[in-house]
């Protein structure tokens, strides 16, 4: 039996679904390899901050890497390193239960659900599982400073109009 590559198949389906229907302001697409061909296993995506929050008017870029065991294992989604958010590690790795195979990852979670989950996390950080110190300290102790820093960051990733 020719072994079907479930990973690639699933990613293609995800791509199809995403094209058909994706939430407003988001983008997600496979990267291009050096020779110009599509690299289905590594994607780039953008997550807009929710409007009426301190994250608004900006789209935050993430990279998505699908491991060989996907969808049995979750994809690795990373923000730029040094991203200012209590639940983002200094490397940019996002600490979110649905992205953790030992916690709430299920094979049936779609890319759309993941993207929306991360968008949700931006404005509602989980202070009980901090992943970096500066923003967590500010979030807990000094909300003004926190907001200032977040807005500064939003400017860096601001939408171009």
């Amino acid at each position: 039996m020719a072994k079907r590559d479930l990973r690639t198949e699933r990613i293609q389906q995800e791509r199809k679904q995403w094209r058909k229907d994706h939430p407003f302001g988001f983008y997600a697409r496979p990267t291009k390899a050096a020779d110009g061909s599509l690299d289905l296993h590594n994607w780039v995506a953008g997550i807009p901050g929710k409007s009426n929050t301190m994250w608004e008017n900006a789209t935050y870029p993430v990279t998505i890497a699908f491991p060989e065991e996907y969808p049995a294992k979750p994809p690795k989604i990373r923000l730029p390193s040094g991203f200012y958010h209590p639940n983002v590690y200094p490397s940019g790795t996002i600490c979110l239960s649905i992205l953790n195979e030992d916690q709430d990852w299920r094979p049936a979670i779609s890319l759309k659900q993941l993207m929306l989950g991360i968008q949700e996390l931006l404005d509602t950080p989980n202070p009980t599982s901090p992943a970096q110190e500066p923003s967590w300290r500010a979030f807990e102790k000094d909300k003004v400073e926190y907001e200032k820093k977040v807005r500064q960051q939003a400017k860096v990733y601001a939408d171009k109009h």
Binding site: E9, K16, A72, E101, D102, R106, P107, A108, Q113
Partner: protein, 638 residues
């Protein structure tokens, strides 16, 4: 310092009273009771042969049972059944609850009675059977509805090809079977025990019966594939093979057959007997019928290879299906969480476990107490490997664990170098660098600080002037230093003496082992040539074991001698040591002198000698125990 380890010489009255109850009849009754009730085959072992020595010292034996992972699985199953008898909510549910509560049924029952039933179920991922389907319903179904889509691979059934889907009994989230199987495989690889439905909103935990259905499905499918492959191979086999292919095929079979010939004869291993063996055998037999078995050219350790092969076989079986792998994970997790009661055999390639069952004593209840009394918990796994339950090293009786630790550290580090320095050098009184006087007069000049002093009294040389040697006069301080030096020197000598004995025994042990390994392969050769049954050469193997074990015990008995207070009477211990050492040498000589082909004729001699060694070993062990627990000897330097 020695007080801690020296246990009261006068017997406690309570202890004496109780030890009367521990007469052998009672123990037998105890075992028989276990036999009937709990498991089909219970073999309770003890760390010591008797509960009382001939001198009447209680031995406080540790009870234990050599088990395999499969045995533990069985006992876990029993636990599930017991819980179900109380809760009456179904075996699968009980199993999930027990896994969730780390097999702690007390805590589980407490929660069950104190919490609301609904909440309790929901928190555990077991939804009560409100919208449950009927039992035994096939959870696998062929879906033909084209609007259905598996949410993992996004495949849909077509008219020609229906999609096989699987759903949990209590939820309605079907996914295609392949995806489900891969999902569980991945969870197994991560040793995940609580596997939840792949749908993100669903909190249902997969039950064993559900995993079993998938597992069965998966196995059938793989079997079908295998059969197909075999058929293809048969087709291909009609094409003539090249020379290389033939060689490869037959050489491989020869190795396998070497071992499978003996696999039925190996004794004392309960885990070996199982159904899948016959399956494997029938496969092997097909190919080896016509192959002539050549004697193996290279020398190998027969026992170790057997062990490795058995282990591989067991591992294959454990990994063979989703269910077996899942159960294996559950069991090993249980064992590692209850590490106090389960220890893995430390020998390479041995995967047996030893389960502690408590103590045959009214005063000792924990392992810590046991070792504190300088008793040695030496146990034997189901492959007859002897090891210490406390330090997980090769058995070191009659030497208590604390002393083994000390001794090994002493041998390893350079504390003896320090002793030598203290015994043979003096420190410069100014910069305290050690100086050895290897000749010349007493006028010393330190190399490092140029200080001049007198070797005898260590005072500044200036005060000696030209002639007044006042250091010959007696002075308290220097005298003490001399006594100290003398003591160190003696201690070093003593250490070197026992270390030489220890090291000598150790090298003999290693040499004997090597020699006998070579011998063993020759025995096999003879056996093949003269068609003697395997069982008839068994005495040889047993004698080897006895010899090696005796050597090891002798070795450790020397180590302990170093720690015995020099004021204590040692004649008794030295006596038994002497006897054993004599017997061991005699048996060793018999091994060395006997030609391989004469071995069988000497059988009675071998049996005779080795039984003598065995007797001496027992008496050595007993004497040491007596002497230590009754305070005849005290241990120092601990």
């Amino acid at each position: 310092m020695s007080e801690d380890f020296h246990c009261g010489s006068e017997p406690e009255s309570e202890e004496e009273f109780n030890s009367e109850y521990e007469s052998s009849e009672f123990e037998y009754e105890d075992e028989a009771y276990l036999d009937d009730d709990n498991m089909e085959k219970v073999e309770v072992h003890y760390t010591f042969q008797v509960s009382k020595t001939r001198m009447g010292t209680p031995t406080h034996r540790m009870k234990y049972m050599p088990v395999s992972v499969e045995d533990v699985q069985k006992s876990l199953d029993d636990k599930v059944m017991q819980l179900n008898q109380i809760l009456q909510i179904g075996i699968d549910e009980c199993r999930i609850l027990l896994i969730e509560y780390d097999w702690n049924d007390d805590r589980l029952l407490e929660d069950f009675t104190s919490r609301k039933t609904e909440d309790f179920y929901k928190a555990s991922g077991i939804i009560s059977d409100l919208y449950a389907k009927k039992d035994n319903e096939d959870l696998l179904e062929k879906i033909t509805d084209e609007s259905f889509e598996c949410n993992i691979c996004y495949n849909s059934p077509s008219k020609k090809r229906p999609l096989e889907a699987f759903r949990l009994q209590n939820c309605n989230h079907p996914f295609c079977t392949n995806c489900y199987i891969r999902f569980i495989q991945e969870a197994n690889a991560n040793s995940q025990l609580l596997i939840r439905c792949p749908n993100s909103e669903c909190n249902h935990v997969l039950r064993i019966s559900e995993i079993e259905q998938l597992s069965e499905y998966d196995w059938q499918r793989r079997k079908k594939l295998d059969d197909q492959k075999q058929l293809e191979n048969k087709e291909r086999a009609r094409v003539p093979l090249t020379e290389d292919q033939i060689r490869e095929k037959y050489q491989k079979n020869e190795q396998d057959s070497d071992l499978s010939d003996f696999s039925d004869l190996e004794i004392g291993d309960p885990s070996e007997v199982n159904d899948s063996d016959s399956k494997k055998d029938s496969n092997d037999n097909k190919t080896i019928d016509n192959v002539e078995v050549e004697p193996a050219k290279e020398l190998f350790n027969f026992q170790e290879r057997m062990l490795l092969k058995e282990r591989e076989e067991r591992e294959r079986r454990r990994n063979s299906t989703l269910l077996s792998k899942y159960w294996f994970n559950a069991t090993t997790m249980y064992c590692s969480k209850n590490y106090k009661n389960f220890k893995n055999c430390p020998f390479p390639d041995c995967d047996s476990l030893v389960m502690q069952l408590g103590f045959d004593s009214s005063t000792v209840a924990t392992l810590a107490e046991y070792t504190k009394r300088l008793l040695i918990p030496s146990v034997q796994c189901s492959h007859k490997h002897e090891f210490c339950y406390n330090c997980l090293k090769e058995d070191h009786s009659p030497c208590p664990c604390a002393i083994v630790k000390k001794w090994e550290r002493k041998c390893k580090d350079d504390s003896e170098t320090a002793h030598w320095i203290v015994a043979n050098t003096k420190d410069c009184p100014k910069c305290s660098s050690p100086i050895e006087k290897n000749g010349g007069c007493n006028h010393m000049v330190c190399r490092s600080c140029q200080h001049q002093f007198c070797w005898v009294c260590l005072k500044d040389w200036a005060c000696h002037g030209n002639m007044n040697y006042n250091c010959i006069m007696y002075d308290e301080g220097t005298q003490e230093a001399k006594v100290e030096q003398e003591k160190n020197r003696k201690s070093l000598e003593r250490y070197m003496f026992y270390f030489r004995l220890f090291a000598n025994q150790r090298t003999s042990f290693e040499k004997d082992k090597k020699f006998l390994e070579q011998f063993e392969s020759r025995i096999q050769e003879i056996q093949r040539n003269s068609s003697i049954s395997w069982i008839e050469t068994l005495f040889y193997r047993e004698s080897v074991d006895i010899l090696l074990r005796a050597r090891r015990e002798l070795m450790w008995s020397y180590a302990i001698m170093y720690y015995i207070d020099s004021k204590c009477p040692r004649q008794l211990l030295e006596g038994v040591q002497c006897t054993l050492s004599h017997q061991v040498e005699r048996l060793s000589m018999l091994f060395a002198d006997t030609e391989a082909n004469l071995n069988l004729r000497q059988k009675s001699k071998f049996l005779n000698y080795s039984s003598m060694v065995k007797k001496s070993r027992d008496s050595l062990k007993e004497t040491y125990l007596d002497c230590i627990t009754n305070g005849i000897i005290k241990l120092t330097r601990i």
